[in-house]
Structures are given as C-alpha cells and as structure tokens.
C-alpha cells in the first residue's frame, strides 16, 4: 500500500546511490520537483532511464547525479540541444556519461515488456540504421513461425520509478490522464514507485470505467506536490511553461550560468519552481 510522505522523505526512503531510476513523462507530467529533490539529496551513480531526457535530466546530468543514461531522444523539445547532456557526452563534464541509445519504439516496447515481467521486447525496429552498430543491447531474434529476423531489446525494470500525476485519493490510488507516456509501464516494471500528485481528493467521483488509475498497492510512496511538474504541465491544472523551455537554451549553455541557476532555484530553496524562476537569468 502506498504511504503518504513528504517529498523529501519519499525520495530519501526510495532512491539510493547506484540505483536504476526512471523519472518518466512524455512532455506532460514530468516529475520536476521529485528530480530536483534527488539533486538536493546529492544522489550519485544513478543509471537514469527515460525516453525523452529533457530539461530535468539535463539538470540532473549537469549536477553529476548520473553515471549512465538509457534514452531515445535527448533534446529540448521544440527548442534544440540539451547543453548539459552534450557537455557530458562530448567533454565528460562534470564526469563521463555512459549512454545506451535506442529509438522511441524500442524504449516503449522495453517498458511494456518490463511491466509484463518479460526479459525482452520484440519489435520491427532499427532496420538499416546504425544503432545496432553502437549498442550491443540491440540484438536479433528469429520468429519461430515465419523465420523473420526482428530486433530484440532488454526490458526496462527499474529500482525506482518516479512519476507525477494529477491526483490521488485517500486510499492512495493515483489517477492520471492526458498524454500518458510510459508512466504506467515504468511504475509496473519497478521495484519501488514514487508518485507526486497535484492534489489528494476524498474520492475520484464519477468517471469513465476505464480511467487510468494506478492502485495503491503498486505504489511505494505518494507526496502531494502542487505544481510538481512545472515547467512541464499537468492537464487540467496548469499549462506547459514553453517560455522556460526556450529560456533554458541560454541558461544551460554555459557551465557557470547553469550552476548559478541550479544553486539559486534548486539547491537554495525547497519550494517547487514557479514562473519567477527566470528572474535574473532570462534575457
């Protein structure tokens, strides 16, 4: 059964140095507040997994949290490069980053097969591309019926999955809606799951019978963190702060400027980010 904890305790009790961790979210519901707490707690040597390591992972990588990254698209969505990610890969700053690079289809399938407790996922993937030449974790499998050759990738099963959702009820069940990404699969494939939520309600009330709900008994800890996805968004609560994504390109280009921003807006304060987090740094 899920325990209701404050964010600091939730992260402290679930995320350990060296863990394999996925903070998932496909543009929507990215668990920024939880990721910032991991940075504040100075976790080290994490293997980070995510389809779309975006600004949050750029920050975590730049702050030296990660030893390795399994991913499929490492950019600032709609804006361009992730400069901290690039600096780690190109220059080993703040230290070298091992990468295991996939395509979206393979990552998504690996999350599915992980949630299904299978050791690998099969897909018609990587045909003619160079990915298998640089990633030994992309292998071949032969269909026992048609003899076709297909791609196989190892399942994703994390030590900890961290997601953000719209709401929990008092029993610790969690509802999410909108763009769902691979969050359910990340949670169901993980040993421990931490969920931050916009609010806690007495009851979800009338709803579609097929509403996306994670039951309490698959979750380790729930923390109420309003605006916990900012500058990403929570459908029905607040929109994506596209301006922040645009501004991050400048903030993150330079190591010192990046460190100054992290010090001021993440390390030196415990509140979640708000629109004021561009003060003193935006052009």
């Amino acid at each position: 059964m899920a325990e209701f904890l404050d964010l600091q305790t939730a992260i402290q009790s679930t995320v350990r140095d060296g863990d394999v961790v996925a903070l998932e979210g496909f543009t929507h519901l990215i668990p920024f507040a939880a990721g910032h707490e991991i940075i504040r707690q100075q976790r080290r040597d994490l293997t980070l997994i995510r389809m779309t390591p975006d600004i949050l992972y750029d920050q975590m990588i730049g702050m030296g949290v990660a030893r390795a990254l399994r991913f499929s698209w490492g950019g600032n969505p709609g804006v361009g490069s992730l400069h901290r990610f690039r600096d780690a890969v190109e220059n080993g700053w703040p230290h070298p980053l091992l990468i295991e690079e996939h395509a979206h289809a393979a990552m998504a399938a690996a999350y599915q097969s992980g949630a299904a407790n299978l050791p690998f996922a099969t897909l018609r993937g990587y045909i003619g591309t160079d990915h298998p030449n640089v990633n030994s974790q992309i292998r071949q499998i032969v269909c026992p019926f048609t003899a076709e050759r297909l791609a196989a990738v190892a399942s994703i099963r994390c030590d900890v999955a961290v997601i953000h959702a719209q709401r929990a009820d008092r029993n610790g069940n969690v509802l999410l809606e909108g763009i769902l990404g691979v969050q359910r699969e990340a949670v169901l494939g993980a040993k421990r799951a931490v969920v931050t939520v916009e609010e806690i309600v007495d009851d979800f009330g009338p709803r579609s019978p097929n509403t996306t709900i994670l039951p309490s008994w698959v979750i380790t800890a729930i923390a109420r963190v309003p605006r916990g996805a900012f500058p990403s968004y929570a459908q029905g609560y607040y929109p994506r702060h596209n301006g922040f994504y645009l501004a991050w390109d400048e903030i993150s280009r330079d190591r010192d400027r990046f460190l100054a921003w992290m010090q001021r807006y993440v390390l030196d304060r415990r509140e979640v980010l708000g629109p004021d987090c561009l003060q003193g740094v935006a052009a």
Binding site: G74, A105, R124
Partner: protein, 260 residues
C-alpha cells in the same frame, strides 16, 4: 490585398502542405512538418488525420505546439493513447500513410542523421538522437522529408544512419524486408527532390520560383542530379500564406503569453 512575398521557409511549408491529401493519416513531427500538416488541414485537406507520437490521434490544434506533447494536442484530439501503443499498434501496425521527417543531415539516398556529427564515441556534436524517426521511416506507407538545403545538411556521407531511407540505393530497402515506399519526396527550401525510379538517388524535380539550378548545385554536398523535365513550383497563394501566417501569429502569441 497586399501580401508580403513568401520566404523560402514558407514556400517549403506550403509545398509540403500541398503534398498532403484529405484522406491521409500523418505522423507529424515538430517544426516545419507540424506547420505543413496543419496548414493542409486548414486549407485543402480539412479531414486529414494528424497524429503526434505523444499519443494524440486526430488532433486539431488551434496553435502549433512547441513540443510533441503540448496540452493543446491532447485537448483537441479525438483520443490520446499511451506512447507504447502509439508505436506498436499505430505506427508499427501500419496504420499511417505519411510520415514526416526532418534531420540534421541527409545523403543522396535520403538516409537521415539526427544522432551525431563526428565519430559516435567521440562526437564533435552530440545531436538529440532518433526518437521516433527510425521506425517512422520504416513503417509509414511513405515518408516526406523537409529540410533546408545547404552544404552542412545535404552531405556526401553520413556519419550515422539514424533513419534509413533508400540505403545504398536500388532495391536496398526491399532487400532488408521493408515493404513500405520510404522517402518519396524531399521538400527543401529551394527545390523538391524525388528518388529516381531505379537508382533511388535523389533528383531535383522542381525548383522554387527564383531559384536556379546553380543555386541548388552550389548548396548541395554531392553532385546533385536534375530531372529531365524540371518543374517550377507555383508560388504560395495569397490564401495559403495568410492561413499559414495567421497560424504562426496565433502560435507566437500563445507561446509568448505563456512565457511572459
């Protein structure tokens, strides 16, 4: 009414939008593809189905999304499915007629690189990577590519094939078991290129107004070939330009407002 002449980028978007039909089901990427698909929807293809890889099916955004998963896409969609389902049932399932791709680099057989400049293990520039592109290129019935044409983007040799086009040309695609058509059109900002029927080498088939063969030859990183009969693409109409600019203005205001 006095409309400012089209920029090359606008001409490219309009050319891409014209390539779309009312009954197409498009897998849309951010940027020029998104502008082209929504321009088509707002002009000659009102029923076109737009799908973004974040899971939004049949979406009709009022402003262009900044990211592949903006709330606007979900709010205006017929429905939104989880990402694994998008890639397995819809893309790999063969349900998409047109995939739109861009990239940092393209070669003469319409292979794309969005992974790395320089050696993979010691990159000069680490690019974002493939995302959906490898399988968009494989599973859509055909793909369109939009890219600005210059010597940095249209290159002789790719350091990395992120999305397979026609490989080394000829029947390379089919020999790997791919049954889809692959890239059938490259809509650049100076001209349109199409794979030559046999060799599959990209060949310029139409120039934009005001662009010469020499312009294209100068900017292309390989000795580019031209079709025997070379069309000139009709300039964007006033209506196309107005709809596109209105869309981009709405978008600018919406994103600016959020940024403020």
């Amino acid at each position: 009414m006095n409309v400012k002449p089209a920029t090359r980028s606008e001409t490219m978007i309009v050319a891409a939008s014209r390539a779309l039909k009312n009954d197409d089901v498009c897998f849309v990427g951010i940027g020029a593809p998104s502008a082209a698909c929504n321009l088509a929807r707002l002009t000659h293809a009102p029923d076109i189905v737009l799908i973004y890889e974040s899971g939004t099916i049949g979406t009709r955004p009022n402003v262009l999304p900044l990211s592949i998963g903006d709330g606007e896409l979900c709010d205006t969609a017929l429905t939104t499915v989880p990402v694994p389902e998008m890639f397995s049932y819809w893309l790999q399932g063969g349900r998409i007629s047109i995939g739109f791709l861009g990239g940092a680099q393209i070669d003469r057989y319409a292979n794309l690189n969005t992974t790395v400049i320089g050696p993979y293990d010691a990159p000069k520039v680490r690019l974002p990577g493939g995302g959906g592109a490898p399988e968009i290129g494989a599973h859509c019935k055909q793909t369109f590519i939009t890219m600005a044409l210059n010597r940095r983007t249209f290159v002789d040799q790719l350091p990395f094939i992120t999305s397979f086009g026609h490989g080394r040309g000829g029947d390379h695609r089919r020999s790997l078991g791919l049954t889809t058509a692959g890239p059938t059109r490259v809509i650049a900002d100076m001209c349109i290129l199409e794979p030559e029927a046999e060799s599959k080498e990209l060949t310029v088939t139409a120039l934009y107004e005001g662009v010469t063969r020499d312009d294209v030859t100068r900017e292309c990183g390989w000795p580019v070939r031209f079709a025997d009969t070379l069309a000139t693409l009709p300039a964007p109409s006033e209506q196309e330009l107005r709809v596109l600019r209105d869309l981009q203005e709405r978008t600018r205001i919406a994103h600016g407002a959020v940024a403020a």
